[in-house]
Each structure stands twice: as structure tokens, then as C-alpha cells.
């Protein structure tokens, strides 16, 4: 077993930018075996084993301590653990993979511009339609915490694992909590972002798990990686 395990995204731009950032810092990641292998190492540093995983797996591996370090989106980490939880610590932010997690409602709702407006219409909606406002999202925990902070309680979450922004049009939900970079997709689906509805300005970052077995050697490797990445 290696001294330190690092998880990096296994596909897409997030993987490319991660590998490029590590290479630029003199921490080239080399895959074992074929080009498509899911294991790698870091010849420039020492006994580091690299695992290529999906971004959401990385968040849950960090939470449980199955990897020491991991690169993933802040949105997925904040969904996995509450702020101040202590199980996952941010080491260095990367500036790529930027996206906002936002609350969006139908553009039709001229009377709803802030979370406080949502709090006002929610019980009225319930009286008229005999059910709560439905919020489509894959960010269950982020939504719960944010809505609670804004005293919005008359709502239910419906889990949405894809094409969330289409939920209102399809009649599956009224409100959407989703990730967006320009808001274009939301506008195309006749939605608007609430003016105080930005839950998180997310970007990719290197995170450390506090539950992993941290030996002195592992700490040392972590410090070196953080240093070279400019933390």
C-alpha cells in the first residue's frame, strides 16, 4: 500500500485541467498500463498512488477517508459534508471548473426575486394546489441548508439526476436548484435565478480527508504537493 493516495477526476475537462495543473507544478501523473487505466502514480514525487474516479465518488471517498487527497468540485464536497464538519479540508483552489449552484424559479414569477419572496408565496401555493412547492435538484443537502437559512420551509425536494432545468416545464417541480456557469440553459428553459439565490460559487480544488490514515510520511507528501501547487 502506498504512503499516500490521491483521487483525480476520471474524465472530461475536469480531468484534463487537473492533470495539466499537476504537470505544470512538476507533479506529472502517469497512468499505469493502458491509456484507459484507472490507476496511476506520480514519478516525480514518491510513493503516491493515484486513483481515477468520478467527481462525486471522490467527494464520498474523501468523506469516508478512503483517499488522503482528492481533486473534485466544491459543490460535491459541500453537498457531502456540512460546513465546519471537519472531515474534509480544502488544500488549494484551482480556479477552473467554475460553476454556481443557484436557486431558479419560472421567469413568470414577477413577484419572486429573493428567497424571502419565495417564503411568502410558498404557503399560498400550498393552499391553492393542495401540495407543497416542489424543488428539483441533485443537491439535497445544499438545498435544505440554504432554504433553512432563509426560513423557507413550505417545500419538498424531488430528486433530479439530469436535465433538472427542464423540470418546471415538464410539470415535475416549480423550483430548481442546479449548477450553472452562464445562466443560459436556465433562461432557455424560462427560468431566472433569484437575486440572493446563489448557494455556492463553486470551483475545482484539492481537498484532504481528515479520516485517512495520516502517517508522518503522508503528511510530508501532502505538504510537498500543496507547496508545489502554490497553496
Amino acid at each position: 500500500m502506498s504512503v499516500l493516495t490521491l483521487a483525480v477526476p476520471s474524465k472530461g475537462r475536469l480531468m484534463e485541467e487537473t492533470l495539466a495543473r499537476f504537470a505544470a507544478a512538476g507533479l506529472e501523473i502517469v497512468r499505469r498500463g493502458t491509456e484507459r487505466g484507472y490507476q496511476g502514480h506520480m514519478p516525480g514525487l514518491g510513493d503516491v498512488s493515484v486513483a481515477f474516479l468520478s467527481a462525486s465518488e471522490i467527494a464520498s471517498f474523501l468523506k469516508s477517508g478512503r483517499v488522503h487527497l482528492g481533486v473534485t468540485g466544491e459543490d460535491l464536497v459541500r453537498e457531502a459534508v456540512a460546513p465546519g464538519d471537519g472531515r474534509i479540508e480544502e488544500v488549494v483552489r484551482f480556479g477552473f471548473g467554475r460553476a454556481d449552484v443557484v436557486v431558479a424559479v419560472p421567469a413568470l414569477w414577477l413577484d419572486v426575486d429573493r428567497m424571502a419572496d419565495l417564503e411568502q408565496i410558498a404557503p399560498v401555493f400550498r393552499r391553492v394546489h393542495g401540495r407543497h412547492l416542489l424543488v428539483a435538484t441533485k443537491y439535497r443537502q445544499l438545498t435544505r441548508r440554504f432554504f433553512a437559512d432563509h426560513s423557507v420551509s413550505s417545500y419538498r425536494i424531488v430528486e433530479s439526476l439530469g436535465a433538472t432545468e427542464g423540470a418546471p416545464q415538464a410539470g415535475h417541480a416549480e423550483v430548481v436548484v442546479d449548477i450553472t456557469s452562464t445562466g443560459e440553459t436556465l433562461r432557455a428553459n424560462h427560468l431566472k435565478v433569484l437575486s440572493d439565490g446563489i448557494i455556492l460559487r463553486s470551483e475545482a480544488a484539492l481537498f484532504a480527508s481528515s479520516l485517512s490514515p495520516w502517517t508522518g510520511a503522508a503528511e510530508h507528501l501532502k505538504a510537498e504537493i500543496a507547496h508545489r501547487l502554490g497553496a
Binding site: 421567469a107 414577477l110 429573493r114 435544505r144 433553512a148
Partner: protein, 394 residues
């Protein structure tokens, strides 16, 4: 804390504790029932306050149905009663004991276990409201005393009093609904009160003045046409269940809010001072009358009831010197509507709430009764009692 308690001794102590309490409940005519542990999630999520909602274990069964582990036994007891009496036309006095489940972030906190036991009683459909309240409270007191946990402080509250004041103040019905709804969250309540005094909150920025100017207060149909014209001109496509008609109604309400007189500052101050009252129970009514000043006339109903309740509690053998009244107490609890109480051990911190209960007149109807049914109940926390008096029972 003892490091690792002997599980057999713990089980024996729990049995003895439960036995003592349940015998008293049954001897007072509260028939024992065994409500289901698995409950439909929907009803719970609708009825619980914010606090319990986020701590309820919800899951899907193999058939895809949403279920939860009961976070208390009151609603399961209501459902069990309604299964037997769908018309809710028979008074009932029921008691129970068993496990309940609430998520806690710290899995190892001995004072807040995720899985714990409650012993409780519920009185449904009693004509004599105060009589039922006094009976429930004094029965809990007898149980606690028999277990060696007597003489605790009893904190009293009455959600009906602040509600009564809000209902008696002249303001648009919509404001009243918002205040009543916000009452369970102290911060939101204070903000809203302030907002109603300083003038309605600023308009949502997406609402254009030129549209509001064209709305006609007493003509929703023509107003809706004008909203529709605006939407067409702006190229806004309606999506979702909420209709243009509902939007129009909401915009008309905004217009009305702006025209309505503000809430006078002294009225907001009055509500604030009433909510802040925290005094020995014997001073409660005098203090409330003083704070209310000339408005006490409108609240004579609930105030008089509170006085009678205190008299009856004393007559039932409970010393008022043990009781403290806090007007804001119980505001964030799930489903209570009136009198609330809690047995507290001073200086025990989180260990200190041994039992609590109150009146919840809306819950049976929410659970399916054809009309509101008066109901009052209470539950004791077995683990906290064990922590306090367990040595004698082990």
C-alpha cells in the same frame, strides 16, 4: 459517565422505569396502545416543525413507498386512534411506551441518542379542555415523583396568548397569516414585525412599477389581462403549475400592502414585550395584563383560561412555586397550538428536559379526522430519566 454500562442491567432498569410509569398511566385510565414504528413519511414531513423534519429518518421500502421511523409517538397514536374511530367521535385516553428515532449529528452524545424511548399519554376529544390539560400534567408529575425525579421546575407557555394578540390587532389578514407563520422562528418573526412597521418590504425587483400602476384592485379579471399583455410584450413564457391568475392575485396583494397603513410601532413593541415575558407562574397573569394595558380586554378569554388553569393545577396538588411562565416558550415545537409545558431539572443542561407536552388541536384533523379534535398529551424521555434515577433501578 460510566465507561461501558452493563447492557443487562440497563435493560432491567429500563423495564423497571417503564413498568412504574405505565402502571400509573393505566391506573389513571390511560389505556395502553402499541402504535406502529414505521410511519408514512408524507404526513410527518407535513406536520413537523423545521427542527424535527431535518432529523427524521426517511427511506423508501422495496415497493418504493416513502416511510419514516417515528420521531415521536404522538402522531402514530393519533393515526392508531383514527383507524379505530374514523369519525373521531369518541373521547379517548391512551398511553404508550416504545422507541423513537431522531438523527443527531453527534452519534455518541449520551444525552441525545439517535434511538431513544418515550413513555407518554394522550387525551383526545375531552370536552373540558383545562381539565384534560391539568390531568395530563399532573399525571406526568406523579410518574416522575414515583420514579424519584419529583420536584422539578415546570416551565409553562401558552401559544394561544400571542396568537390571540395577533388576531386582535387590526391589520390585513395576509399580514396576520404571515406573522402567525413566522412566530415559530424568532429571528424571522422579529424581522417581519419590523418590516410591517417601517412599511412593506421593498418590491421584488422583477415587478415593474408600470405594470403595478395598471392593475385594478377590485377587478382581478381585467388585471390578469394586463399581466398577460405584459408577459407577451416581454416574451415571458409561463412554465410550471403556478398560473398567471395566481401571479396576478399576488401582485394585487403587493399593491394592497403598499396602500395599507403601517403597523404602529407601539403595537409591534407590545407584541415584543409580551413574547419576552418570563416570570414565576404566580406573576404571569398580572404581568401580561400590565404589558397589554388597554388591550387586555381583547385577551380576557385566554388570560382568564390561564388563570383558571393555574388554580386547577394548584387544586390538583401541584405547587405553583415550582412553575415558571415564558410567553415565547414552545413556539418552535411541532404542532402545538395552546398550553405547553416541560419538566426541567435545573443545572442539568441538556439532560434537564425529563418530559414535556401540550395541546395540539389541529393534529387529528391533519391526520384525517373530519374536523378539529381537542387533544393534549405529554411524553417522558426514558434515557434522561434513567441517567437521573437509574442507580436506584439497576
Amino acid at each position: 459517565m460510566r465507561a461501558s454500562p452493563d447492557p443487562a442491567a440497563e435493560a432491567r432498569a429500563l423495564d423497571r422505569l417503564t413498568g412504574v410509569a405505565c402502571r400509573i398511566l393505566e391506573s389513571r385510565g390511560f389505556e395502553r396502545v402499541e402504535p406502529a414504528i414505521l410511519q408514512p413519511a408524507e404526513l410527518y414531513l407535513e406536520q413537523l416543525g423545521e427542527d424535527l423534519r431535518n432529523r427524521t429518518y426517511v427511506f423508501s421500502d422495496p415497493d418504493g413507498e416513502e416511510l419514516c421511523l417515528r420521531p415521536d409517538l404522538t402522531l402514530p397514536t393519533c393515526r392508531l386512534y383514527l383507524d379505530q374511530h374514523p369519525e373521531a367521535d369518541q373521547p379517548a385516553r391512551l398511553s404508550y411506551h416504545g422507541p423513537a428515532f431522531r438523527y443527531q449529528t453527534d452519534a455518541d452524545d449520551p444525552h441525545r441518542p439517535r434511538e431513544f424511548h418515550q413513555i407518554g399519554l394522550e387525551s383526545f376529544g375531552a370536552d373540558d379542555a383545562i381539565g384534560a390539560e391539568v390531568e395530563v400534567l399532573s399525571t406526568v408529575d406523579t410518574c416522575l415523583a414515583s420514579l424519584g425525579a419529583g420536584g422539578t421546575v415546570i416551565r409553562l407557555g401558552d401559544l394561544g396568548i400571542v396568537r390571540g394578540l395577533i388576531m386582535s390587532i387590526d391589520m390585513p389578514a395576509r399580514w396576520r397569516r404571515r406573522l402567525l407563520r413566522a412566530f415559530e422562528r424568532p429571528e424571522a418573526f422579529r424581522r417581519l414585525l419590523q418590516q410591517l412597521c417601517t412599511g412593506a418590504a421593498p418590491l421584488p425587483s422583477a415587478v415593474p412599477e408600470r405594470l403595478l400602476d395598471r392593475l385594478i384592485a377590485d377587478d382581478p379579471a381585467r388585471s390578469e389581462e394586463r399581466v398577460q399583455e405584459y408577459l407577451d410584450a416581454e416574451g415571458i413564457t409561463p412554465v410550471g403549475l403556478r398560473s398567471v391568475g395566481e401571479l396576478t392575485e399576488s401582485l394585487l396583494a403587493l399593491v394592497e400592502d403598499r396602500r395599507a397603513a403601517r403597523l404602529p410601532g407601539e403595537v409591534a413593541g407590545l407584541i415584543d414585550s409580551l413574547v419576552a415575558i418570563d416570570v414565576p407562574a404566580t406573576d404571569a397573569v398580572t404581568r401580561m395584563r400590565t404589558v397589554l394595558g388597554s388591550r387586555r380586554v381583547e385577551l380576557e378569554g385566554p388570560l382568564g383560561a390561564f388563570e383558571r388553569r393555574l388554580d386547577d393545577l394548584e387544586r390538583a396538588g401541584l405547587s405553583l412555586r415550582r412553575m415558571r411562565f415564558s410567553a415565547g416558550f414552545g413556539r418552535s415545537f411541532a404542532y402545538y397550538t395552546g398550553f405547553v409545558f416541560q419538566f426541567e431539572v435545573e443545572g442539568k443542561g441538556q439532560l434537564g428536559h425529563l418530559a414535556g407536552g401540550g395541546r395540539y388541536d389541529d393534529l387529528l384533523e391533519a391526520a384525517g379526522a373530519p374536523r378539529p379534535v381537542p387533544a393534549v398529551g405529554a411524553a417522558m424521555h426514558s434515557e434522561r430519566l434513567l441517567a437521573m434515577v437509574g442507580e436506584r433501578l439497576r
